[in-house]
Each structure stands twice: as C-alpha cells, then as structure tokens.
Symmetry: C2
Subunit: 171 residues, 2 copies
DNA sequence: CGCGAAAACTTAACATGTTAATCATCCGCC
DNA sequence: GGCGGATGATTAACATGTTAAGTTTTCGCG
C-alpha cells in the first residue's frame, strides 16, 4: 500500500509536535465567532430581503438615532473601520438612503444624516428584526441573555487597556 | 443661518420615527463583535509577526491536531466557508506549509495534511499565543472565562435548530 | 504670513465573508 | 453501461476587514 507510506510520512512530521496547544474547541475567539454567526444567521435573511447587509443596517440604525453625525464618530458607534465606512457611505448615498454635507467650520469633516427614504426602509425592516431578537431572548432566556451581555462588556473592558504592543504606553 | 434650515429638514424626517428600536449598545451581535475584536486585537500582532492571518492560523492548528483531513471536514472544524478555505489552502500550499493529495477512492475529495515546515511555524507561534491567552484569562478571571465560554456554547446550541427559514424542515 | 505636523477622510491593495454558479466525480437505477 | 441527480470542491462576483499610503484642510508657531 503506497498509501500507508504517505500516512507514515505525515505522522512522522506530526510526531515532532512537542508544542502543546489548547484544543480548538476551547478557543475563545472561536467561541465568540461561532456564537455571533449563530445569531447573525437568524437576522441575515430578513436584512437581505430588504437589500441590506449587516453593516449597512448598523449604519442606518446609528443614523436614525441622531440628528446628524460626523464620519469618524459614526465609525466609532457602528464599529466599522474608516475604509469600510467610506465605501458603504458612498453606496448608501447613491441609493438615496442617507445625505451628507460638509462641516462649514471644518471642511475636512463630513456630516451625515439619514434621509426620509432611509427612515422608511428602517420602518420596514425593524419589526422583523425586533421579532427575531425577541425569539432569541425567548429561546435562550431573557435573564441569561442579559447576563451574557454583561459578561461580554466586561471582557471587552478588561482588555481595553492593553492596546496590544503599539499603544501600550497610552496610559 | 442656512444651516438651521438643513437641520430642521433632517429633524422633520427623523420625527417620522414611530419605529421603536433597541439602542445600539444593546445589540447582541454588536456585543459579540466588540468582544471578539477586543480579544483578537491581542492575538493579531503575534500572528502578523509570523506572516499569518487569523484564518490561516486556524487552519494550521486544525491540521496539526490530526493526521489528515478532508477539505469539507476542515471547513467545518475551522469554521470557514468553502470559498474562503479554497483560497487559503491554495496560498498555504504554495508556501509549503501544507500538503494535499487526492483521495484514491473518491477523486472528488481532497485530503490535507500539515508539512514539517508548517509544524515548525506552529512551534514558533504557539508559545506567544498561549501566553496571550493566559494573560486574558488572568485579567478577566479564569473562572469567569470558563463560564462565558459555556454560555456562548449554550447560545449557539439554542439557536442551532432554527436554520433561519430555508432549512427549517430539516428535522 | 507661511511652513510643517496633525487630523479627517479617502483610496489602494490584498485577504476574507457570502452567495451563486460551475466543474468534476460518484452513485443509484433503469 | 449510461443517464440524471447528488456530492465535493473550486471559481466568480461583490461586500467588508485590515493595513498602508495619499489628499485635503486645520492648526500651532516661529
């Protein structure tokens, strides 16, 4: 069996593994990724049915909650990096869902606001979205869900100080 | 002030919002995303220093834990979609970090295994990765971290049944 | 004033996520 | 033994993540 030989060669390389590594299933990033994907799988069809991606929806929601907002501040609130935001804003503006002006006092700053058309779209999407959220809370347990959110926020908080090497000396 | 007019127009559109929407900060997908990003921000520099992306690292780790594995099974274990995996495998193979054969009994199936070079790379990256993980556990609390992982797994489990419309009739 | 550094975006370039379409192979079945 | 559906994997096309570089405008300051 030529196949047994190949297997032997592979195993030889594998036997050099003296590096202990946690099992994959215990990886925290993996657990967070899987949980988030399980949640998003519930929401995506509804968004998609209205021609929206998850990120576009985040932006519209953020804009709907304020009168107007600057690009950088929106990036912070919607948790998007500048380049992604720039592209998405270009598209949303072309679709007439948002409007943009230039700050008269500082022409570097762009000021964004949602349009009436954008508000109308939100009104169409929100009910389904709320229903899905209620369903998740119901299946998982509202109390438990609140506890989970609290723990997630604490995790984020406990890691916030350490900017991972580069800005380690910010404090 | 012509600006006051624009503001008035924006507010008019906003006043049509009879759609109650949870505040952004209470969004579960957002909380998961933020937590995951906070965690990954710790790991990314170390991976990047060795020329690896997060996904490439997931693949190498998964391959290191087995003798060999098929592409579809690897996608499931590393939690990657087929197309992403295909591209990454092409690159990893070109870099000599993995090897691929074709299943003799079913020529549709590709069989993957890590190379000696790949194992060596893992040995270089793993210590730093483990140290970072220990640091996170230390700052957040090992007990709490375990509890969080359990809750995440339960969330995933409680949403697993509902395949979001399409495959709702699988059971 | 005017020069240089910093700030706010934007563009560029490459990697991945996501869905649909395509390709090759296998398998059941007539 | 060959046709048709199912399966494994890749490719295509578009959107976003991620880092670096470029552009425009401000601002400090001599």
């Amino acid at each position: 069996m030529s196949e047994t030989k190949a297997k032997g060669a592979r195993q030889a390389a594998k036997d050099a593994r003296k590096v202990p590594m946690r099992d994959f299933s215990q990886s925290l990033p993996m657990a967070l990724l899987r949980a988030r994907e399980a949640v998003m799988r519930q929401f995506r069809p509804n968004l998609r049915a209205h021609g929206l991606t998850e990120q576009q929806w985040r932006i519209l929601r953020a804009l709907a909650a304020v009168d107007s907002i600057e690009v950088t501040e929106l990036a912070r609130v919607a948790f998007l990096l500048g380049p992604s935001l720039s592209r998405i804003l270009r598209d949303l503006e072309a679709r007439g869902l948002i409007q943009r002006e230039v700050d008269a006092r500082d022409m570097r700053r762009g000021v964004l606001s949602i349009s009436a058309k954008g508000m109308k779209l939100i009104a169409q999407v929100a009910p389904g979205s709320e229903a899905i959220y209620a369903s998740i809370a119901s299946h998982y347990g509202a109390r438990k869900l609140a506890a989970l959110q609290k723990m997630l926020a604490e995790l984020e908080g406990s890691l916030a100080q350490f900017g991972a090497s580069d800005e380690a000396d910010d404090a």
